[in-house]
Every structure is written in C-alpha cells, then in structure tokens.
C-alpha cells in the first residue's frame, strides 16, 4: 500500500532497476513502433494537402477537406461503400466460423495419421500465390470452365461466371474460405489442445453425448480465442483486399465488385492523387477503429474477454 502512494516516476525507477533485463528486451520493440508506426503518422497531413513530392509535406498547399468532400460526393460513393461492407461482412459471417468448424472436425478424427495428412493438405492452398489462385478461378469459371460446367446442370448457363454481378460475391467468399480454412484452423487446434480432458470426463459422466460435449465443453473452452480472433478480424472490416478484387473484377461487374480500394486505385493510376488516396485511407481507418472499439466494449460486457 505504501507503493501506491509513491509517485509513478519513483515506481518506474525501482522497476527499471529490478527488472532491467526485461526492459532492455522490450526496448527494440518500442523503438520499432515509435520509428515505423508512430513517426510516419504525420503523413496523415497529406490528406489535407495538395501534395507535391518536390515541395514535401510541409511545403505543399493546404486544401483542407477537399478530398474528403470529393470522395463523399462521388457518384459512386454509396455503391463502393456498400460493396466494401457487403463483401467484408459476408466474408466474416460466412468465412469466420469455417476454420473453427474445421478444427472441431479435425479434432474428432481418431486416426492420427489420417488427421495429420488432412491437416497438411488443408494448409497447402494458403501458400499458393494470389495471382495463381485468381488465374485458376478465372479459368474454372470461364464459359468452358469446369465449375461453370457443373453449375450448368443446376441452371443452364453457359457464360463466364465472372461476367455476372451476382456471382462475384460467392466466388470471392468461397475461394477465400478454400484458401484459408486449413491455415486458419491452426490456432483453434492449438486452443483445443489446451482444454482440460477432465472436463470431458465429467461431462460424459453427466451423460452428455459428443454433440453436447462440443457445445458445453469445447466451445466455451476456446471461446477466449474465438473472441480475440473475431475482434482482430473485425478491425479489418474496411480493408477488403484490393489485390484479389483487382485480379478478378472487370467493368461489367463493377456494381458488386468495385470497392473503395479498387476505385481509389483506378483514380490513383490516372493522376497520382496522393492526397485523395490518403484521405480515403484515413476514412477507412477511422471506421475500422470505431468498429473495433464498439465491439471491444460489447465483448467486455458480454464475456470476460477483450483486447483491452
């Protein structure tokens, strides 16, 4: 209790002496964050300036909120915002549970060899380069591609799937799940191994079947991990990966495929609009941050788990 009354500075001094090794170890990390994450933040100013590389950030003309206004007033603003949110939320709602379910299923496999082989095969798509994956998708969904062929038994279409706006979302989300389901399950498998086996025994004694065991022992056991992963995922809600969309989209499906980052990419290509793209980046970051804050608060109230 006497420690509480001592000033922060004095306490810090004592800590430094006592645990000097630990502080020295964390020093490089702190420097890294200061230099590479905080110092560049002053680049935010670019969003408010008519940036010219020669004049530098300070020397460029101040234009205030011009780029923000330009962005919000664009004919396509509502559409690209809607597409960004729709693609992002669908990816989360449909894609997030998949690695968890996969991990649970893998956990049930008794044959260790089979389990390991399945795991290894499931990891492989993660390592395929995005460009290759997108070429494959384009080939398989072309008018003579095998996915189109299979679908034609259910519908009778013979056009390239990527030419119809309605198909873009399923293709994007499902291919993402295929690629990441294996790799994403690793962390949940690790969490699963941390559950006390005695809890399962206790549940079995109480008469719980496998399904009830999963519901009442397994899921609560990994709920901490699930919530943290969900929070981190939600923090990226506005960052719909523009590379994948750029590789898959074409003007015919802009109405569902054009997102904020691809729109700004095209605009940037035309005239190197540094200020405009920085402004849009800030917009994205503010939304991401707000969403994470809100969900973190909700998570704190509902469970004991939260990011901070």
């Amino acid at each position: 209790m006497r420690n509480d009354k001592k000033s922060f500075g004095k306490r810090l001094g004592r800590d430094l002496k006592k645990y000097s090794g630990v502080y020295i170890m964390v020093l490089p990390v702190v420097i890294f964050y200061l230099l590479f994450c905080y110092k560049p933040m002053y680049g935010i100013l670019i969003a408010f300036k008519d940036f010219s590389p020669a004049a530098g950030i300070l020397g460029s003309d101040w234009v205030g909120f011009r780029y923000f206004k330009e962005f919000f007033h664009s004919y396509y603003f509502t559409r690209i915002l809607k597409n960004t949110l729709v693609i992002s939320l669908t990816s989360i709602i449909v894609g997030f549970p998949m690695p968890i379910i996969f991990a649970l299923l893998l956990n049930e496999i008794k044959n260790q060899k089979f389990k390991r082989i399945t795991q290894t095969i499931s990891y492989m798509p993660h390592f395929i380069s995005l460009v290759v994956v997108c070429s494959m998708i384009k080939m398989f969904t072309a008018s003579n591609g095998f996915i189109t062929y299979i679908l034609s038994f259910f519908g009778g279409q013979d056009y390239s799937l990527l030419t119809r706006p309605g198909y873009f979302l399923p293709i994007y989300v499902l291919s993402g799940i295929w690629q990441e389901i294996g790799w994403g399950s690793i962390i949940y498998l690790a969490a699963l191994s941390g559950i006390d086996q005695e809890l399962y025994e206790a549940a079995r004694i109480d008469g719980a079947g496998r399904w009830k065991q999963t519901l009442h022992v397994t899921l609560p056991g990994i709920s901490g991990t699930i919530i943290i992963m969900l929070l981190l995922r939600i923090g990226n809600i506005m960052n719909v990966g523009h590379e994948k969309i750029l590789l898959l989209y074409n003007p015919g499906i802009y109405e569902t495929a054009d997102v904020i980052s691809t729109f700004v990419y095209r605009k940037g290509l035309q005239d190197y609009q540094w200020g405009y793209s920085t402004a849009v980046g800030i917009f994205n970051s503010i939304i991401n941050f707000t969403v994470v804050m809100v969900f973190n608060k909700i998570s704190k109230k509902v469970s004991e788990v939260s990011l901070w």
């Binding site: 000097s20 090794g21 170890m25 420097i31 020669a54």
Partner: protein, 554 residues
C-alpha cells in the same frame, strides 16, 4: 548471483540482435542515400571543375566529343528488357558508345518504377538529368517545372542547334514539347514519321479467306458475313476473339469499328479545332449495337471480359478464332514465327471498317508523334551548357544513326544508302530476338532523346504480312481528328480529373453492359447520355477545349 548475471547478459545480447533486426529495415535506404549523395557531390565536383574550362572557350556550337571530361548524373526508370542482361543503359555497348561520342560520362541513377521516381523528387537531391515521361507526375511536366524539378531548355537552346532544327521542322513538335507558358520541357522522344504512329489493328486468318473465296471485309456487314462463315464453315468457336482492352480501347475508342456509323472514334477527337468526346455522342449507340449483334449471334468471344492476350493469340493460332486485334510485332510477328512450320497458316492486317466499300476510314490506332517522354535538365544541374550540348547529340546526324541503328559495322551497315541492320540483329546466332539484340546497340525499340526513324520499323516488322498490315492499318484520316499532346491548364486540373474519374468508370461499365446485352440499348438516350450529362461531361469537354485553345495559341 551468477545465474542472474548470465540471464542479464543473454537479455542484453537478445535485445541487441532485435535492435539490429529493426535497423535492417532502414539500412538499405540509408546506405543508398549515402551513395547517392556521394555520387551527386562527385558529379558536381567534376562539373564545377570543367565549367571553368568551358567558360573560357565560350563556344556555343557543340563539337563532339565535348572537351572537359564532364560527368553528369541521370535518373531513369529501369527498362526490364535492358536490365535482364545489363546493369543499366550505360553498361550496354550503346551506352558506352554514346558516352564516348559525346565526351560526357553519365552516371545512371536507376529506379524501379514511376513511384520510385517520385520519391527521388521527395528526397531533395535531384540528379543533373532526368529521363522520364512526366505524365507520371501529378500535374504533369508543367507542374514539375513550377515545382522546380525541371529547368526549361529555353535559355540553353543556343547550345542545342540540332534540337532547335528539329523543332523548327514541324510545328506540332515545337508546340507539343512546350507547356502552355511556352517553356520547352526538355529533349523529347519524337516519332519521325506517320508510319511509326500505327502498330495495332485487326488481324484476320488470310488462309481462311482464301479457302472460302472471300475478299477482305471492309464494311460491318461484310465482316459479319465473314465471321459467320468462319463459324459455320471453319468450325471457329469464337470467330472474333479478343479482350476488353482491345475491344473497348482499340476497336471503339480508337475508331476501328466506328467510321461506318459516322463517329471518328469514341475517345477525345477534334474537328476543325472543336473538341468532341465520342463516348458522349449519339452515333456511339450504333457502334455498340453492332458489337452487341456480334455478341448475341455468337460471333464475339463471350469470355472477352476475362481473357488475356495469350488466350486470343492461342485461339487464332489453333483455329478457334479467325479475327483478333493485336500489335504488328508482338502479336502478328509472334504468330507467324510460332506457326512458321505450318504452310497453310497465314494472317493479314485488316483496315478499319467503313460504311461503303472503297471509303477511307476516319480513324485507327494512332499515337501522337510527341510521346511525352523527355530527358530534362534539373535546376540543380551544375553544368547546364554542357548538359544542353549533350542532349543535343541525339538530334545530330551521327547521334540519329547511333540511337536508331547503333554502331556502323557492328549492328548495321549502309547498303545503297539504306541503314541495314546486321545479322546480329535480324538473325542472331545465339537465338536472341530482334529486340533483345537491339537492346545492346540502339534505342529505336524504346524511347530516348532522339527522333525515331521509320527505317527501324521497316526492318523490325519486315515480314511481308507485317509490312502490308502497317499499310492497311494506317490508310485512314486519323491525322485529321487526332488531338495534339495537350496540357490541362493547372487551375482546372483537379476538377477535370475528378470528373473524369467517375465518367470513365461509368463508360467502361456501360460499354460491357450494352455489348453483352445486360442493358438494352433503348436506354442509351434516356439513361446513358443523361447520366453522363449529370456527371459533368459537358464541363469536361469545355475544359479540354480550353486546353486545345491554349495549345493552338502557343
């Protein structure tokens, strides 16, 4: 106690390693910057030494090689064709010959791409010369001049008499290389002949036409019938195979398919000094209707939105298609080379479509002879007179030959007064392609501070089919409708680019929708044209008109 000390030491070592790790991130740029500043300070030292010698002689007309042993630094974007085999341009036999002939040593500051070039400007230490297309700079060359990155050549033209002669020879060149304020941007890359301005167009299976006894189609209906015959009689699944880029940007925007409908082209064009935007004109509807008909009747490749270049080239070579749109060298040349063992395979270039047989088409793919690439002087160049003389070299007789044909005796010989590329280039013993061999000795295949000579293209595309294609494609009035290289006046620049951002997205989308029939052309007037108007297309045309008027007034 000992354990505590040991763990302390380990902790210190670990954090030292981590610290080194984080520093490695900035290591390369720092050393890079140090090297740069060493180079520029060395260059400026040399330059200041020789400038005292130069001012003594006071001779303005350049005599090559220049005396004084000046060293200049030049920034340029990496050309991957060059960098595959050489560190940079100055390491090629061409680069060495250029330095030897001018008597100036050049140190290259090579950057990876346009973004990296912009970072050079942000760095603050400018090199003496910059070889670049300033369309990659926000605001273009005129903004770069205002931002003190480019030093206009106006005050130094007396040291570059051959370049001045080039400007005097063609009004379009002397105007096109200046800003609206009359500043001469730099030493330009110019295409010396109209022959060099067209190199893309329709390519058709000539052997199929011969087999079926058909003439080369000239009108839309004739083309329709030919494509139908290809499908029914030659088994072509996708008689006209292409990609959105070729279909929209080349065929429609550049006017290969639009003449029959009274539209020169869908892109910006001018008629007697008045600016038009084809995409916003009602005749554009008829061109779209024609493409839609081809699509609906199964004559246009339904996968055109997702194809890439190799897809349609493969299609025409293996008989799935009979018509593509491609370039004379990389497209037609490759096809003919790949299929050289097949005696039946033959392709020919097809002229832009016209309304009535025998008409001259209005437009075709037609580049500007002023390309926008310059080698510019910077304000910090320590020896501007020598730099100007150096830049002048490419426009002298000797420089022209070096840049276009290389080294006499090695890469070319004069045969009856015609510079003929040697076997090293045309039939390389090690199997190098023409471009790969040219990389060593010339710059004709690329850009640079010189005027491109048509005799390069005459030999590069030397197969009879290629020569015939080039003639067919350029048999148009494209020059009449072409827009010169304009600069949008600075006060309208951001308004113009924000209008065009939305307009271009809309146009691309609606192009696909109308061609594939997802949207009916009945909505063309009511929706398409009206939406364009509400997006401000008239204002964009107005701004472009102002730019054209400024250009004409130069």
């Amino acid at each position: 106690m000992k354990q505590k000390n040991r763990s302390r030491v380990i902790a210190c070592l670990l954090s030292g390693v981590l610290l080194l790790g984080t520093m490695s991130g900035c290591g390369s740029t720092e050393t890079g910057k140090q090297e740069e500043s060493k180079q520029t300070s060395a260059a400026s030292q040399n330059a200041s030494e020789s400038s005292t010698e130069e001012s003594v002689s006071e001779d303005k007309t350049p005599v090559y090689p220049l005396e004084g042993g000046t060293k200049l630094t030049m920034a340029m974007v990496e050309n991957t064709v060059v960098s595959q085999r050489f560190e940079n341009l100055m390491e090629t036999p061409f680069g060495k010959a250029w330095q030897e002939a001018t008597g100036v040593e050049i140190e290259i500051l090579q950057v990876a791409d346009n973004e990296a070039m912009n970072l050079i400007f942000a760095g603050g230490e400018l090199p003496d010369l910059i070889w670049w297309n300033f369309d990659g700079y926000a605001g273009g060359a005129s903004k770069a001049i205002k931002d003190k990155i480019i030093e206009p050549l106006n005050d130094y033209m007396e040291y570059a008499p051959d370049l001045q002669a080039v400007f005097d020879s063609k009004e379009a060149w002397s105007k096109g290389c200046k800003t609206n304020d009359g500043d001469i941007i730099g030493a330009p890359f110019l295409r010396g002949d109209d022959y060099l301005l067209t190199y893309t167009g329709m390519i058709i299976r000539q052997d199929w036409l011969d087999d079926l006894g058909l003439d080369a189609p000239q009108t839309p209906d004739e083309l329709y019938d030919v494509l139908k015959a290809f499908k029914e009689k030659k088994g072509a699944d996708v008689p006209f195979s292409t990609r959105t880029y070729q279909l929209q940007t080349i065929a429609v925007e550049n006017g290969l398919f639009t003449s029959p409908f009274g539209l020169p082209k869908a892109d910006w064009y001018q008629k007697d000094g008045v600016v038009h935007y084809g995409y916003a004109e009602k005749e554009y509807k008829d061109a779209l209707a024609y493409l839609n008909k081809l699509y609906t009747d199964g004559l246009l490749d339904p996968n055109f939105q997702t194809n890439d270049d190799n897809t349609f080239r493969a299609n025409i070579m293996n008989g799935n298609a009979g018509l593509v749109i491609d370039m004379v060298g990389g497209g037609m040349g490759t096809m003919l080379k790949t299929m050289e063992d097949d005696p039946s395979f033959d392709v020919a270039g097809l002229r832009s479509l016209v309304k009535n047989r025998g008409d001259i088409p209005m437009c075709t793919q037609y580049n500007n002879s002023v390309t926008g690439t310059y080698v510019v002087m910077t304000p910090t160049c320590k020896n501007k007179e020598v730099a100007a003389k150096f830049l002048n070299y490419g426009y002298t007789e000797a420089g022209h030959m070096l840049f276009n044909f290389g080294i006499e005796g090695t890469s070319y010989t004069m045969v009856d007064g015609y510079p003929t590329y040697s076997d090293y280039i045309m039939n390389n013993p090690d199997g190098l392609t023409k471009v790969e061999a040219m990389v060593e000795y010339t710059k004709a295949y690329d850009v640079g501070p010189f005027v491109q000579d048509r005799r390069y293209q005459e030999q590069y595309s030397n197969l009879p089919q290629q020569q015939a294609a080039l003639s067919a494609w350029s048999d148009t009035d494209a020059a009449k409708y072409a827009m010169p290289s304009l600069t949008i006046p600075e006060e309208y620049l951001s308004e113009y680019s924000s209008l065009m951002g939305d307009i271009k997205t809309y146009i691309s989308e609606m192009f696909i929708k109308y061609v594939t029939g997802l949207e009916s052309l009945d909505t063309f007037e009511s929706e398409y044209l009206n939406t364009l108007k509400s997006m401000g297309v008239d204002r964009a045309i107005e701004i472009k008109q102002k730019a054209l008027d400024s250009f004409n007034a130069r």
